[in-house]
């Protein structure tokens, strides 16, 4: 088993948003190389690792892209306008610290049109936010940041109460750490195992789709985060039973797919046999790479193992370390048990 917290720290420092995942891919590759027979990177940037086995093809997909920002305009005083990469709630970005791909830091602020005090929070538009990098002029800003450059949340992972980790990008770097950890336990699997660290999930599960097109797996299992229902005053339309620390969740349904029964049953059987406490997940909103695998080529039996996380897509997502460790055990078992 790998140390999830340490791995998360390493990945968070390097990670870049969807479309430019090569930095995190390099770190992952260095670990994965020890645990697989062969690996390659495809045209889109998916890292595809193969652990040979005699049985049917099973594909695991953990997306390694993260949400972030892209600079699109620098004004005459050196302030930077940006577009989102992936899903953000603009109002909650105000005050967030961000780091550009070259290390330049700044923070997000609202312009005079955003009016967060008097606007319904969810109506605040991203086009009225800007990044302040402390530039003294347009030229000064251009010497630090150029249009097209990516930025990510600049906060660091930290352990908090009850064995939980507060971090940006638990979605989905923690799942990458989990898959790596699982790979380290997959020696001589009975199935033919393909572990994919996919790209561009946050933009619509694009990486997993092309990887599945190429691999043509019999069964596909995504590893991602899911919401929890254990925070204050959950509204009725979002209630769910999954909670932090209750074990990995086996997905039954989300808004992007209904998991195929053989996959759900395979995962449950593996959990029971390995003595892993799991939770049933029915997620009302959100989707994962599982949907892309399911609808690749002539169809793939698909499902997902989820790590419960609070405040997903915030710079302080909170997940439970033992949930992650048990997810890794469950995935290793699923790879090693005949399908």
């Amino acid at each position: 088993m790998l140390n999830i917290f340490e791995l998360q720290k390493e990945l968070v420092c390097a990670a870049l948003p969807s479309g430019l995942e090569s930095r995190q891919a390099t770190i992952i590759k260095n670990y994965a190389a020890h645990y697989c027979d062969e690996f390659y990177t495809d045209a889109l940037g998916n890292l595809i690792c193969h652990i040979k086995g005699p049985g049917k093809k099973i594909m695991f997909a953990a997306h390694m892209d993260v949400i972030g920002f892209m600079a699109t305009f620098i004004d005459e005083r050196g302030y930077i306008r940006f577009v989102p990469v992936g899903g953000h709630t603009p109002a909650y970005l105000i005050g967030a610290t961000v780091r550009f791909e070259n290390g330049i830091c700044g923070c997000i602020q609202p312009d005079e049109k955003a009016k967060p005090g008097s606007t319904v929070l969810t109506d605040i538009m991203l086009q009225n936010l800007y990044i302040d990098i402390g530039a003294e002029s347009y030229e000064d800003a251009c010497s630090m940041v150029s249009v097209g450059m990516y930025a990510t949340f600049a906060t660091e992972p930290k352990m908090v109460a009850d064995g939980n980790m507060m971090t940006p990008y638990a979605d989905n770097l923690t799942s990458c750490a989990v898959l790596l950890s699982a790979m380290s336990e997959m020696v001589y699997p009975v199935n033919d195992v393909w572990c994919v660290f996919s790209v561009q999930e946050e933009l619509g599960c694009r990486g997993a789709k092309v990887a599945a097109n190429a691999i043509r797996p019999y069964m596909g299992i995504a590893i991602d985060l899911t919401r929890t229902g254990d925070t204050p005053s959950e509204t009725d339309n979002l209630r769910m039973t999954v909670k932090l620390g209750g074990g990995p969740a086996i997905k039954i349904k989300d808004s992007s797919l209904i998991c195929d029964k053989p996959v759900v049953e395979h995962l449950r059987a593996c959990a029971v046999r390995s003595g892993i406490e799991y939770q049933d997940e029915v997620l009302l909103a959100g989707g994962t790479d599982a949907s892309a695998m399911q609808r690749s080529r002539e169809g793939t039996l698909s499902g997902a193992v989820s790590i419960p996380g609070r405040s997903i897509h915030s710079p302080g997502e909170i997940i439970n370390i033992s949930d992650a460790e048990n997810a890794a055990r469950l995935i290793a078992a699923a790879a090693k048990t005949e399908i």
């Binding site: 004004d75 086009q127 097209g148 990887a211 190429a214 892309a292």
Partner: protein, 341 residues
């Protein structure tokens, strides 16, 4: 180039009815093609070999279709109710001349006279469902002699050069792209390339999906037209692109994220050759590039001409911008080939 643009923009091709455009392009492309065929969805594939063959195919595409309308029903008094095929703002329709169907029956979209409207009515933009095409028919029966439900309608708009190196007309999106591809076909190519003229882009990149599935290219260059919004009252940071600022290179949009390395190679080459280019700085909108998930992975490149008043009867583009797109499209073949060699 102007002649070619004029010919292409005068043709009609709403999604699903791209035949006129396809036939013109096929004829123009044939002398330069090593292979040419049309697929089930109507996309035109043209293969031209170059000096070298890349390991995985290279594809350049432009869409043949334009935004337009389909006749939904004919009223008792002979008016045509319409649905949009592609994204059209109803505000740009009022007072427009239209052409309906293959026989290009002339018609008008308008509103009741200002004398008869209330102040409240004038404040509100009309919805498409309240608009109709008047073809001057006396009643339903006489209208049906000329038009049937399902016929397409397009803007009746003259193509013209005007101002300083500007052109105006309908369907600049994306006949400019088609023209660029046709011009490129006439040139010596560094690498083998598939030129695909796609269908149904305006209703969701449909032709591109089957094309990409068929060719499974390693690199795809999409040549499209995009919103130049350097117009008064739009703050600089919301402009996306500006006319006269050169070819537009995409970073990311709602359909695709474009390959970083390929983009870098092409912009470096463009800078070396002093070709003017700009980034597209808004994320809204998608192109044929969104179909890239239909293969086993391709490096995407997005190239566009900045066009003002896109999806209107009179769109405006700047000829030197088009020339820049032309040059960068050629650079795409070289660089994509270089990466895929």
């Amino acid at each position: 180039m102007i002649k070619l643009l004029k010919d292409l923009c005068t043709l009609d091709g709403v999604p699903g009815y791209e035949k006129e455009v396809r036939e013109y392009i096929a004829q123009a492309a044939r002398p330069y093609a090593n292979e040419i065929f049309t697929d089930a969805l109507g996309s035109l594939f043209v293969f031209k070999s170059g000096q070298r063959t890349p390991t995985r195919p290279i594809m350049l595409c432009a869409h043949m279709d334009e935004v337009g309308f389909l006749v939904k029903s004919i009223t008792e008094d002979g008016m045509l109710k319409i649905v949009a095929s592609g994204g059209i703002d109803p505000r740009v329709l009022i007072g427009r001349k239209m052409q309906v169907g293959k026989s290009k029956i002339p018609g008008i979209i308008s509103l009741k006279a200002i004398h008869l409207t209330t102040i409240e009515e004038r404040k509100k933009a009309p919805e498409l469902k309240t608009l109709y095409i008047d073809i001057g028919a006396t009643d339903k029966e006489s209208a049906e002699k000329l038009v049937r439900v399902g016929d397409y309608a397009v803007f009746d708009s003259e193509f013209a050069s005007f101002g300083q190196n500007c052109i105006k007309g309908k369907a600049l999106d994306d006949r400019i792209g088609c023209a660029v591809l046709l011009k490129l076909l006439e040139c010596e190519l560094a690498y083998d390339c598939w030129f695909v003229f796609t269908t149904g882009e305006e209703i969701g990149a449909r032709g591109a999906m089957s094309s990409i599935h068929r060719l499974n290219p390693g690199c795809i260059g999409v040549v499209d037209s995009t919103t130049a919004s350097d117009v008064p009252d739009n703050p600089a940071h919301l402009r996306s692109t500006a006319m006269r600022e050169g070819a537009v290179i995409s970073l990311i949009d709602s359909g695709a994220v474009y390959d970083h390395t390929l983009r870098q190679r092409i912009t470096d080459a463009a800078d070396r050759e002093c070709v003017k280019w700009q980034y597209r700085t808004r994320i809204e909108g998608a192109t044929d590039a969104s179909a890239y998930v239909y293969g086993t992975g391709a490096k995407m490149f997005g190239l566009s001409t900045p066009v003002r008043y896109i999806h209107c009867a009179n769109s405006v583009a700047y000829l030197p911008d088009i020339a820049a797109v032309q040059k960068i499209a050629a650079l795409f073949i070289e660089e994509a080939g270089g990466m895929n060699a």
